[in-house]
Amino acid sequence: MSFDIIIIGAGPAGMSAAITASDSGAKVLLLDDQPTPGGQIYRAIEAAGDKQANILGPDYMAGKPLAEKMRALNIEYVSDASVWQVTDEREVGYSTGGQARLVTAPAVILATGAMERPFPIKGWTLPGVMMAGAAQTMLKTSGLAAEGAIFAGCGPLLYLVAHQYLQAGVTISAIVDTTAKANRIPALSHLPGALKRWDLLLKGQKWQSEIRKSGTRIIDDVSALRVLGETKAEGLSVNTAGAWLDIKSEHVFLHQGVVPNVNLSFAAGLDHSWDERQLCWRPDTDTWCGASIDGIFVAGDGGGIGGGLAARAEGEIAALGALGKLGLIDTTTRDARAKSARATLSRELCIRPFLDTWFRPSDSFRVPIDDDAIICRCEELSLKDIRDTIEIGLVGPNQLKSFCRAGMGPCQGRFCGLTVQELIAKQTKRTAADVGYYRLRPPIKPLRLEELANLQIDDDT
Protein backbone atom coordinates (compact mmCIF):
# COMPACT_ATOMS: atom_id res chain seq x y z
CA MET A 1 0.00 0.00 0.00
CA SER A 2 1.38 3.42 -0.87
CA PHE A 3 0.54 6.73 0.77
CA ASP A 4 0.58 10.36 -0.30
CA ILE A 5 1.11 11.73 3.19
CA ILE A 6 2.41 10.12 6.37
CA ILE A 7 1.45 11.95 9.55
CA ILE A 8 3.22 11.23 12.83
CA GLY A 9 1.13 11.91 15.92
CA ALA A 10 -2.65 11.73 16.34
CA GLY A 11 -3.11 14.73 18.60
CA PRO A 12 -4.95 17.91 17.56
CA ALA A 13 -2.43 18.80 14.82
CA GLY A 14 -2.08 15.28 13.43
CA MET A 15 -5.79 14.49 13.41
CA SER A 16 -6.66 17.81 11.85
CA ALA A 17 -3.95 17.35 9.18
CA ALA A 18 -5.22 13.83 8.45
CA ILE A 19 -8.81 15.04 8.10
CA THR A 20 -7.86 17.92 5.78
CA ALA A 21 -5.65 15.71 3.62
CA SER A 22 -8.11 12.83 3.44
CA ASP A 23 -10.99 15.19 2.63
CA SER A 24 -9.06 16.23 -0.48
CA GLY A 25 -8.57 12.65 -1.60
CA ALA A 26 -5.04 12.06 -0.34
CA LYS A 27 -4.10 8.58 0.89
CA VAL A 28 -3.09 9.17 4.49
CA LEU A 29 -1.15 7.03 6.97
CA LEU A 30 -1.55 8.34 10.53
CA LEU A 31 0.90 6.84 13.05
CA ASP A 32 0.49 7.32 16.79
CA ASP A 33 2.20 5.83 19.82
CA GLN A 34 -0.87 5.78 22.07
CA PRO A 35 -3.61 3.13 22.08
CA THR A 36 -6.29 5.68 21.09
CA PRO A 37 -6.24 8.98 19.19
CA GLY A 38 -6.12 12.36 20.94
CA GLY A 39 -2.48 13.08 21.73
CA GLN A 40 -1.85 14.36 25.25
CA ILE A 41 -4.43 17.14 25.27
CA TYR A 42 -7.30 14.92 24.12
CA ARG A 43 -5.90 11.74 25.64
CA ALA A 44 -8.49 8.92 25.91
CA ILE A 45 -11.10 11.31 24.49
CA GLU A 46 -13.12 8.59 22.76
CA ALA A 47 -14.06 6.99 26.07
CA ALA A 48 -15.00 10.30 27.72
CA GLY A 49 -18.57 10.73 28.94
CA ASP A 50 -20.48 13.05 31.29
CA LYS A 51 -18.23 12.45 34.29
CA GLN A 52 -15.10 13.32 32.32
CA ALA A 53 -16.88 16.38 30.90
CA ASN A 54 -17.68 17.61 34.42
CA ILE A 55 -14.16 17.15 35.70
CA LEU A 56 -12.01 17.86 32.66
CA GLY A 57 -14.14 20.58 31.07
CA PRO A 58 -15.28 21.65 27.59
CA ASP A 59 -11.79 22.34 26.16
CA TYR A 60 -11.00 18.66 26.62
CA MET A 61 -14.34 17.47 25.26
CA ALA A 62 -13.76 19.59 22.10
CA GLY A 63 -11.44 16.81 20.95
CA LYS A 64 -14.26 14.30 20.68
CA PRO A 65 -15.79 15.45 17.35
CA LEU A 66 -12.27 15.68 15.91
CA ALA A 67 -11.51 12.05 16.78
CA GLU A 68 -14.93 10.97 15.47
CA LYS A 69 -14.32 12.73 12.16
CA MET A 70 -10.85 11.20 11.85
CA ARG A 71 -12.32 7.73 12.42
CA ALA A 72 -15.11 8.29 9.90
CA LEU A 73 -12.75 9.08 7.03
CA ASN A 74 -10.72 6.68 4.94
CA ILE A 75 -7.52 7.23 6.92
CA GLU A 76 -5.06 4.43 7.67
CA TYR A 77 -4.73 5.07 11.41
CA VAL A 78 -2.20 2.90 13.26
CA SER A 79 -2.23 3.04 17.06
CA ASP A 80 0.54 1.78 19.40
CA ALA A 81 3.07 2.67 16.70
CA SER A 82 6.47 3.73 17.91
CA VAL A 83 8.14 5.87 15.22
CA TRP A 84 11.91 5.54 15.53
CA GLN A 85 13.14 7.39 12.47
CA VAL A 86 12.34 9.81 9.67
CA THR A 87 15.09 10.28 7.10
CA ASP A 88 15.74 13.16 4.69
CA GLU A 89 14.36 10.83 1.99
CA ARG A 90 11.09 10.71 4.01
CA GLU A 91 11.52 7.09 4.97
CA VAL A 92 9.51 6.57 8.13
CA GLY A 93 10.56 3.69 10.37
CA TYR A 94 8.09 2.48 12.96
CA SER A 95 7.30 -0.56 15.06
CA THR A 96 4.01 -1.93 16.18
CA GLY A 97 3.38 -5.17 18.03
CA GLY A 98 7.05 -6.15 17.66
CA GLN A 99 7.07 -5.72 13.86
CA ALA A 100 9.24 -2.96 12.39
CA ARG A 101 8.30 -1.36 9.08
CA LEU A 102 9.80 1.21 6.74
CA VAL A 103 7.37 3.22 4.65
CA THR A 104 8.01 6.17 2.36
CA ALA A 105 5.73 8.95 1.09
CA PRO A 106 6.23 12.16 -0.89
CA ALA A 107 5.10 14.20 2.13
CA VAL A 108 5.58 13.63 5.85
CA ILE A 109 3.99 15.77 8.55
CA LEU A 110 5.55 15.66 12.00
CA ALA A 111 2.92 16.36 14.65
CA THR A 112 4.81 15.07 17.66
CA GLY A 113 3.46 17.61 20.14
CA ALA A 114 4.97 18.82 23.36
CA MET A 115 6.41 17.40 26.54
CA GLU A 116 6.73 18.98 29.95
CA ARG A 117 9.82 21.08 30.59
CA PRO A 118 12.35 19.39 32.90
CA PHE A 119 12.07 20.55 36.53
CA PRO A 120 15.44 19.59 37.97
CA ILE A 121 15.28 20.05 41.74
CA LYS A 122 16.71 17.91 44.51
CA GLY A 123 14.60 14.76 44.82
CA TRP A 124 12.67 15.06 41.54
CA THR A 125 13.64 11.47 40.72
CA LEU A 126 11.95 9.92 43.79
CA PRO A 127 8.94 7.63 43.28
CA GLY A 128 5.80 9.69 43.94
CA VAL A 129 7.14 12.73 42.09
CA MET A 130 5.48 13.14 38.69
CA MET A 131 4.88 15.90 36.20
CA ALA A 132 1.48 17.62 36.62
CA GLY A 133 0.66 16.61 33.06
CA ALA A 134 1.25 13.00 34.08
CA ALA A 135 -1.26 13.46 36.91
CA GLN A 136 -3.72 14.78 34.34
CA THR A 137 -3.03 11.80 32.07
CA MET A 138 -3.93 9.48 34.96
CA LEU A 139 -7.21 11.34 35.37
CA LYS A 140 -8.00 11.19 31.65
CA THR A 141 -7.06 7.57 31.00
CA SER A 142 -7.96 5.88 34.28
CA GLY A 143 -9.98 8.28 36.40
CA LEU A 144 -7.18 8.15 38.97
CA ALA A 145 -6.33 11.07 41.26
CA ALA A 146 -4.06 11.35 44.29
CA GLU A 147 -5.61 12.61 47.53
CA GLY A 148 -3.53 15.26 49.31
CA ALA A 149 -0.98 15.86 46.56
CA ILE A 150 1.24 18.93 46.29
CA PHE A 151 1.26 20.84 42.98
CA ALA A 152 4.38 22.94 42.46
CA GLY A 153 5.60 25.17 39.66
CA CYS A 154 4.08 27.62 37.22
CA GLY A 155 2.09 27.85 34.03
CA PRO A 156 -1.55 27.43 32.96
CA LEU A 157 -1.49 23.62 33.03
CA LEU A 158 -0.57 23.56 36.74
CA TYR A 159 -3.71 25.51 37.62
CA LEU A 160 -5.82 23.63 35.09
CA VAL A 161 -4.97 20.25 36.63
CA ALA A 162 -5.40 21.59 40.17
CA HIS A 163 -8.81 22.94 39.16
CA GLN A 164 -9.75 19.58 37.63
CA TYR A 165 -8.74 17.86 40.89
CA LEU A 166 -11.08 20.13 42.82
CA GLN A 167 -13.87 19.45 40.29
CA ALA A 168 -13.31 15.76 41.02
CA GLY A 169 -13.64 16.42 44.76
CA VAL A 170 -10.00 15.60 45.47
CA THR A 171 -8.21 17.57 48.19
CA ILE A 172 -4.88 19.26 47.38
CA SER A 173 -2.38 19.72 50.23
CA ALA A 174 -0.83 22.82 48.69
CA ILE A 175 -0.21 24.66 45.46
CA VAL A 176 3.31 26.04 45.45
CA ASP A 177 3.42 28.78 42.83
CA THR A 178 6.91 29.50 41.53
CA THR A 179 5.84 32.24 39.09
CA ALA A 180 8.44 35.00 39.46
CA LYS A 181 7.12 38.43 40.40
CA ALA A 182 9.93 39.89 38.28
CA ASN A 183 8.13 38.55 35.18
CA ARG A 184 5.17 40.84 35.65
CA ILE A 185 6.53 44.07 34.25
CA PRO A 186 8.06 42.57 31.07
CA ALA A 187 4.84 40.55 30.60
CA LEU A 188 2.61 43.60 30.85
CA SER A 189 4.06 45.05 27.65
CA HIS A 190 2.55 42.01 25.88
CA LEU A 191 -0.85 42.41 27.52
CA PRO A 192 -2.47 44.55 24.80
CA GLY A 193 -1.83 41.82 22.21
CA ALA A 194 -3.13 39.17 24.60
CA LEU A 195 -6.41 41.01 25.16
CA LYS A 196 -7.78 39.55 21.92
CA ARG A 197 -8.05 36.36 23.97
CA TRP A 198 -9.50 38.07 27.05
CA ASP A 199 -11.71 35.00 27.43
CA LEU A 200 -8.64 32.84 28.13
CA LEU A 201 -7.26 35.36 30.62
CA LEU A 202 -10.63 35.36 32.40
CA LYS A 203 -10.69 31.57 32.42
CA GLY A 204 -7.31 31.52 34.18
CA GLN A 205 -8.60 34.05 36.70
CA LYS A 206 -11.69 31.93 37.30
CA TRP A 207 -9.63 28.77 37.99
CA GLN A 208 -7.44 30.69 40.41
CA SER A 209 -10.32 32.30 42.28
CA GLU A 210 -12.19 28.97 42.56
CA ILE A 211 -9.06 27.31 43.89
CA ARG A 212 -8.64 30.11 46.44
CA LYS A 213 -12.30 29.85 47.45
CA SER A 214 -11.93 26.11 48.03
CA GLY A 215 -9.56 26.92 50.88
CA THR A 216 -6.64 25.17 49.19
CA ARG A 217 -3.36 26.38 50.61
CA ILE A 218 -1.45 28.47 48.07
CA ILE A 219 2.17 29.38 48.68
CA ASP A 220 3.96 31.94 46.52
CA ASP A 221 7.16 34.00 46.66
CA VAL A 222 9.12 30.77 46.23
CA SER A 223 12.88 30.81 45.64
CA ALA A 224 13.85 27.14 46.07
CA LEU A 225 12.29 23.67 46.26
CA ARG A 226 13.52 20.29 47.49
CA VAL A 227 11.58 17.06 47.49
CA LEU A 228 11.74 15.37 50.89
CA GLY A 229 12.43 11.65 51.27
CA GLU A 230 15.19 9.13 50.67
CA THR A 231 13.55 6.20 48.87
CA LYS A 232 10.23 7.81 47.99
CA ALA A 233 8.67 11.27 48.08
CA GLU A 234 7.55 12.30 51.55
CA GLY A 235 6.83 15.94 50.88
CA LEU A 236 8.23 19.19 49.60
CA SER A 237 10.51 21.65 51.30
CA VAL A 238 9.72 25.15 50.08
CA ASN A 239 11.76 28.29 50.50
CA THR A 240 9.11 30.98 50.69
CA ALA A 241 9.84 34.58 51.63
CA GLY A 242 13.31 33.54 52.71
CA ALA A 243 12.34 30.73 55.11
CA TRP A 244 12.11 26.97 54.62
CA LEU A 245 8.74 25.32 55.12
CA ASP A 246 8.06 21.56 54.92
CA ILE A 247 4.80 20.19 53.51
CA LYS A 248 4.10 16.46 53.81
CA SER A 249 2.70 14.36 50.97
CA GLU A 250 3.65 11.20 49.11
CA HIS A 251 2.62 12.82 45.81
CA VAL A 252 4.43 15.85 44.39
CA PHE A 253 3.35 17.07 40.95
CA LEU A 254 5.77 19.41 39.20
CA HIS A 255 5.21 21.63 36.17
CA GLN A 256 6.86 24.64 34.59
CA GLY A 257 5.44 24.76 31.11
CA VAL A 258 5.78 22.58 28.04
CA VAL A 259 8.36 22.50 25.25
CA PRO A 260 8.29 21.01 21.74
CA ASN A 261 9.11 17.31 21.64
CA VAL A 262 11.93 17.70 19.13
CA ASN A 263 13.72 14.34 19.23
CA LEU A 264 12.25 13.19 15.92
CA SER A 265 12.65 16.53 14.12
CA PHE A 266 16.29 16.82 15.26
CA ALA A 267 17.04 13.20 14.34
CA ALA A 268 15.47 13.79 10.91
CA GLY A 269 18.11 16.46 10.34
CA LEU A 270 15.78 19.45 10.20
CA ASP A 271 17.17 22.92 10.91
CA HIS A 272 16.10 24.29 14.30
CA SER A 273 16.38 27.67 15.97
CA TRP A 274 16.53 28.57 19.64
CA ASP A 275 13.47 30.48 20.82
CA GLU A 276 14.63 32.73 23.65
CA ARG A 277 11.09 33.66 24.68
CA GLN A 278 9.82 30.07 24.91
CA LEU A 279 13.26 28.84 26.03
CA CYS A 280 13.23 25.89 23.66
CA TRP A 281 14.29 24.68 20.22
CA ARG A 282 11.81 24.76 17.36
CA PRO A 283 12.19 23.47 13.82
CA ASP A 284 12.41 26.22 11.19
CA THR A 285 9.26 26.33 9.07
CA ASP A 286 7.80 28.39 6.24
CA THR A 287 4.25 29.74 5.96
CA TRP A 288 2.95 26.26 5.01
CA CYS A 289 4.68 24.60 8.00
CA GLY A 290 7.28 23.26 5.55
CA ALA A 291 10.57 22.38 7.25
CA SER A 292 14.14 22.70 5.95
CA ILE A 293 14.00 19.30 4.21
CA ASP A 294 11.79 19.19 1.13
CA GLY A 295 8.52 17.35 1.73
CA ILE A 296 8.73 17.37 5.53
CA PHE A 297 6.26 19.53 7.42
CA VAL A 298 5.93 20.29 11.14
CA ALA A 299 2.56 21.13 12.71
CA GLY A 300 1.36 21.79 16.25
CA ASP A 301 3.25 22.17 19.51
CA GLY A 302 6.18 20.13 18.14
CA GLY A 303 7.01 23.25 16.15
CA GLY A 304 6.61 25.75 19.01
CA ILE A 305 4.07 26.04 21.80
CA GLY A 306 0.71 27.46 20.72
CA GLY A 307 -1.84 25.19 22.41
CA GLY A 308 -4.48 22.79 21.13
CA LEU A 309 -6.50 25.10 18.91
CA ALA A 310 -3.38 26.56 17.27
CA ALA A 311 -2.22 22.99 16.69
CA ARG A 312 -5.48 22.13 14.92
CA ALA A 313 -5.10 25.17 12.68
CA GLU A 314 -1.47 24.33 11.90
CA GLY A 315 -2.42 20.74 11.09
CA GLU A 316 -4.81 22.08 8.49
CA ILE A 317 -2.24 24.52 7.07
CA ALA A 318 0.47 21.83 6.89
CA ALA A 319 -1.92 19.42 5.15
CA LEU A 320 -2.90 22.09 2.62
CA GLY A 321 0.79 22.84 2.07
CA ALA A 322 1.46 19.16 1.45
CA LEU A 323 -1.58 18.77 -0.84
CA GLY A 324 -0.43 21.78 -2.85
CA LYS A 325 3.09 20.42 -3.11
CA LEU A 326 1.83 17.04 -4.33
CA GLY A 327 -0.42 18.75 -6.87
CA LEU A 328 -3.55 17.30 -5.27
CA ILE A 329 -5.04 20.80 -5.04
CA ASP A 330 -4.19 23.93 -6.98
CA THR A 331 -2.59 26.87 -5.24
CA THR A 332 -5.71 29.06 -5.50
CA THR A 333 -7.80 26.45 -3.68
CA ARG A 334 -5.01 25.90 -1.19
CA ASP A 335 -4.70 29.60 -0.38
CA ALA A 336 -8.46 30.08 -0.10
CA ARG A 337 -8.94 27.05 2.14
CA ALA A 338 -6.12 28.11 4.47
CA LYS A 339 -7.71 31.46 5.25
CA SER A 340 -9.85 30.44 8.20
CA ALA A 341 -7.08 28.29 9.71
CA ARG A 342 -4.68 31.21 9.43
CA ALA A 343 -7.16 33.49 11.18
CA THR A 344 -7.55 30.94 14.00
CA LEU A 345 -3.79 30.53 14.27
CA SER A 346 -3.08 34.22 14.56
CA ARG A 347 -5.88 34.60 17.13
CA GLU A 348 -4.48 31.71 19.19
CA LEU A 349 -0.89 32.90 19.02
CA CYS A 350 -1.59 36.49 20.10
CA ILE A 351 -1.72 35.50 23.77
CA ARG A 352 1.54 33.53 23.71
CA PRO A 353 4.04 36.41 24.21
CA PHE A 354 2.16 37.40 27.36
CA LEU A 355 1.83 33.83 28.71
CA ASP A 356 5.41 32.90 27.81
CA THR A 357 6.77 35.97 29.58
CA TRP A 358 4.46 35.88 32.62
CA PHE A 359 5.13 32.17 33.22
CA ARG A 360 8.81 32.19 32.21
CA PRO A 361 10.34 29.63 34.59
CA SER A 362 13.00 31.19 36.83
CA ASP A 363 16.67 30.56 36.14
CA SER A 364 17.03 28.76 39.48
CA PHE A 365 14.36 26.22 38.50
CA ARG A 366 15.75 25.59 35.01
CA VAL A 367 19.29 24.97 36.25
CA PRO A 368 19.38 23.56 39.78
CA ILE A 369 21.03 25.33 42.69
CA ASP A 370 21.65 22.28 44.90
CA ASP A 371 24.90 20.45 44.09
CA ASP A 372 23.33 17.02 44.58
CA ALA A 373 20.22 17.70 42.45
CA ILE A 374 20.10 15.20 39.59
CA ILE A 375 20.23 16.72 36.08
CA CYS A 376 20.51 13.59 33.89
CA ARG A 377 17.92 11.20 35.34
CA CYS A 378 19.04 8.19 33.29
CA GLU A 379 22.76 8.32 34.05
CA GLU A 380 22.14 9.79 37.52
CA LEU A 381 24.44 12.77 37.10
CA SER A 382 24.10 15.63 39.57
CA LEU A 383 24.66 19.34 39.07
CA LYS A 384 28.10 18.90 40.64
CA ASP A 385 28.99 15.97 38.33
CA ILE A 386 28.12 17.95 35.23
CA ARG A 387 29.58 21.25 36.42
CA ASP A 388 32.88 19.51 37.25
CA THR A 389 32.93 17.96 33.78
CA ILE A 390 32.27 21.29 32.08
CA GLU A 391 35.14 22.71 34.17
CA ILE A 392 37.60 20.53 32.26
CA GLY A 393 37.03 22.90 29.37
CA LEU A 394 34.54 21.21 27.11
CA VAL A 395 32.69 23.25 24.55
CA GLY A 396 29.28 21.68 24.16
CA PRO A 397 26.69 19.05 25.03
CA ASN A 398 28.08 16.45 22.62
CA GLN A 399 31.48 16.45 24.25
CA LEU A 400 29.74 16.11 27.60
CA LYS A 401 28.30 12.81 26.38
CA SER A 402 31.77 11.36 25.82
CA PHE A 403 33.06 12.62 29.15
CA CYS A 404 30.26 11.59 31.50
CA ARG A 405 27.44 9.95 29.48
CA ALA A 406 24.95 12.78 30.15
CA GLY A 407 22.06 12.39 27.73
CA MET A 408 23.05 8.87 26.69
CA GLY A 409 20.55 6.88 28.75
CA PRO A 410 17.19 5.56 27.58
CA CYS A 411 15.42 8.96 27.48
CA GLN A 412 18.05 10.18 25.00
CA GLY A 413 18.41 13.59 26.58
CA ARG A 414 14.71 14.45 26.61
CA PHE A 415 14.83 15.32 30.33
CA CYS A 416 18.33 16.80 30.58
CA GLY A 417 19.05 18.38 27.18
CA LEU A 418 17.72 21.84 27.95
CA THR A 419 19.22 21.90 31.46
CA VAL A 420 22.65 20.82 30.22
CA GLN A 421 22.56 23.39 27.44
CA GLU A 422 21.67 26.24 29.79
CA LEU A 423 24.18 25.08 32.40
CA ILE A 424 27.01 25.06 29.84
CA ALA A 425 25.89 28.51 28.64
CA LYS A 426 25.88 29.87 32.18
CA GLN A 427 29.22 28.36 33.11
CA THR A 428 31.06 29.32 29.90
CA LYS A 429 29.32 32.71 29.62
CA ARG A 430 27.82 32.05 26.22
CA THR A 431 24.25 32.15 24.97
CA ALA A 432 22.12 29.01 25.03
CA ALA A 433 21.65 29.30 21.27
CA ASP A 434 25.41 29.31 20.76
CA VAL A 435 25.93 26.24 22.96
CA GLY A 436 23.43 24.20 20.96
CA TYR A 437 21.72 20.90 21.70
CA TYR A 438 22.66 17.22 21.79
CA ARG A 439 23.11 15.71 18.35
CA LEU A 440 20.24 13.26 18.09
CA ARG A 441 20.26 10.22 15.84
CA PRO A 442 17.76 7.53 14.99
CA PRO A 443 16.43 5.29 16.38
CA ILE A 444 14.80 7.81 18.72
CA LYS A 445 12.75 5.06 20.36
CA PRO A 446 14.03 1.68 21.57
CA LEU A 447 14.22 -0.76 18.68
CA ARG A 448 15.13 -4.39 19.24
CA LEU A 449 17.77 -5.90 16.99
CA GLU A 450 15.30 -8.67 16.17
CA GLU A 451 12.77 -6.09 14.94
CA LEU A 452 15.38 -4.40 12.78
CA ALA A 453 16.52 -7.77 11.39
CA ASN A 454 12.93 -8.54 10.39
CA LEU A 455 12.29 -5.05 9.00
CA GLN A 456 9.45 -5.03 6.51
CA ILE A 457 10.05 -2.52 3.75
CA ASP A 458 6.89 -1.29 2.07
CA ASP A 459 8.05 -0.66 -1.46
CA ASP A 460 5.54 -0.11 -4.21
CA THR A 461 8.05 0.65 -6.94
Binding site: P127, L139, L144, A146, V170, C378, E379, P446, E450
Partner: protein
Protein backbone atom coordinates in the same frame (compact mmCIF):
# COMPACT_ATOMS: atom_id res chain seq x y z
CA UNK B 1 -2.39 7.00 47.19
CA UNK B 2 -4.22 7.23 43.91
CA UNK B 3 -7.95 6.56 44.01
CA UNK B 4 -10.56 6.14 41.29
CA UNK B 5 -12.64 9.29 41.00
CA UNK B 6 -14.21 8.01 37.81
CA UNK B 7 -14.71 4.26 37.69
CA UNK B 8 -16.98 3.28 34.85
CA UNK B 9 -14.70 1.06 32.81
CA UNK B 10 -14.97 -2.69 33.26
CA UNK B 11 -12.04 -4.35 34.99
CA UNK B 12 -11.72 -7.78 33.45
CA UNK B 13 -7.96 -7.62 33.25
CA UNK B 14 -5.96 -9.43 35.94
CA UNK B 15 -2.17 -9.67 35.78
CA UNK B 16 0.59 -10.82 38.05
CA UNK B 17 2.92 -8.33 39.71
CA UNK B 18 5.68 -10.23 41.51
CA UNK B 19 3.25 -12.80 42.88
CA UNK B 20 0.39 -10.40 43.63
CA UNK B 21 -2.75 -10.21 41.50
CA UNK B 22 -3.42 -6.71 40.14
CA UNK B 23 -6.72 -5.77 38.52
CA UNK B 24 -6.63 -3.27 35.65
CA UNK B 25 -9.40 -1.34 33.98
CA UNK B 26 -9.81 -2.51 30.39
CA UNK B 27 -7.49 -0.60 28.08
CA UNK B 28 -5.31 1.05 30.71
CA UNK B 29 -1.54 0.85 30.85
CA UNK B 30 0.43 -1.40 33.19
CA UNK B 31 1.77 1.78 34.86
CA UNK B 32 -1.69 3.23 35.54
CA UNK B 33 -2.96 -0.10 36.88
CA UNK B 34 0.00 -0.46 39.25
CA UNK B 35 -0.23 3.15 40.47
CA UNK B 36 -3.95 2.54 41.04
CA UNK B 37 -3.00 -0.49 43.14
CA UNK B 38 -0.65 1.61 45.27
CA UNK B 39 2.66 0.59 43.69
CA UNK B 40 4.98 3.60 43.37
CA UNK B 41 8.41 2.03 42.87
CA UNK B 42 8.79 0.38 39.45
CA UNK B 43 12.51 -0.25 39.14
CA UNK B 44 15.95 0.13 40.64
CA UNK B 45 18.39 2.25 38.67
CA UNK B 46 21.46 0.62 37.07
CA UNK B 47 23.93 3.27 38.24
CA UNK B 48 23.08 3.94 41.90
CA UNK B 49 20.42 1.33 42.79
CA UNK B 50 17.81 4.00 43.50
CA UNK B 51 14.07 3.40 43.34
CA UNK B 52 12.17 5.04 40.50
CA UNK B 53 8.57 5.19 39.37
CA UNK B 54 6.50 6.63 36.53
CA UNK B 55 7.22 10.31 35.96
CA UNK B 56 5.80 11.49 32.61
CA UNK B 57 3.13 8.87 31.76
CA UNK B 58 3.57 9.65 28.05
CA UNK B 59 6.58 7.61 27.03
CA UNK B 60 9.34 10.22 27.13
CA UNK B 61 11.09 9.78 30.51
CA UNK B 62 11.76 6.00 30.49
CA UNK B 63 11.56 5.89 34.28
CA UNK B 64 8.81 3.25 34.37
CA UNK B 65 10.94 0.53 32.76
CA UNK B 66 9.84 -2.94 33.90
CA UNK B 67 10.22 -6.58 32.99
CA UNK B 68 6.99 -7.55 31.25
CA UNK B 69 6.47 -11.18 30.23
CA UNK B 70 10.17 -11.77 30.58
CA UNK B 71 11.16 -8.86 28.36
CA UNK B 72 13.17 -6.17 30.13
CA UNK B 73 13.19 -2.41 29.44
CA UNK B 74 9.47 -2.19 28.64
CA UNK B 75 7.88 1.21 29.23
CA UNK B 76 5.05 0.32 31.62
CA UNK B 77 3.16 3.52 30.72
CA UNK B 78 3.12 2.51 27.04
CA UNK B 79 2.12 -1.15 27.45
CA UNK B 80 -1.55 -1.99 27.78
CA UNK B 81 -2.27 -4.33 30.69
CA UNK B 82 -3.50 -7.74 29.55
CA UNK B 83 -4.79 -10.74 31.47
CA UNK B 84 -2.14 -13.25 32.37
CA UNK B 85 0.75 -10.82 32.01
CA UNK B 86 3.72 -11.30 34.31
CA UNK B 87 5.10 -7.98 35.47
CA UNK B 88 8.16 -7.42 37.65
CA UNK B 89 10.26 -4.46 38.72
CA UNK B 90 13.46 -4.11 36.78
CA UNK B 91 16.46 -4.32 39.07
CA UNK B 92 19.49 -2.64 37.53
CA UNK B 93 20.36 -2.88 33.86
CA UNK B 94 18.73 -5.45 31.62
CA UNK B 95 20.82 -8.54 31.05
CA UNK B 96 20.84 -10.20 27.68
CA UNK B 97 20.56 -13.91 28.34
CA UNK B 98 20.63 -16.81 25.94
CA UNK B 99 17.06 -17.91 26.74
CA UNK B 100 15.81 -14.61 25.29
CA UNK B 101 17.23 -15.51 21.90
CA UNK B 102 14.79 -16.99 19.45
CA UNK B 103 16.26 -20.28 18.18
CA UNK B 104 14.30 -19.94 14.94
Amino acid sequence: MFKRVIDETASDVVFDFEGTEVTARNGESVAAALLGAGVLSFRQTPVKDRARGPFCMMGVCFDCLMVIDGQPNRQACQVRAASGMKVARQIGAAELTLDQADPA
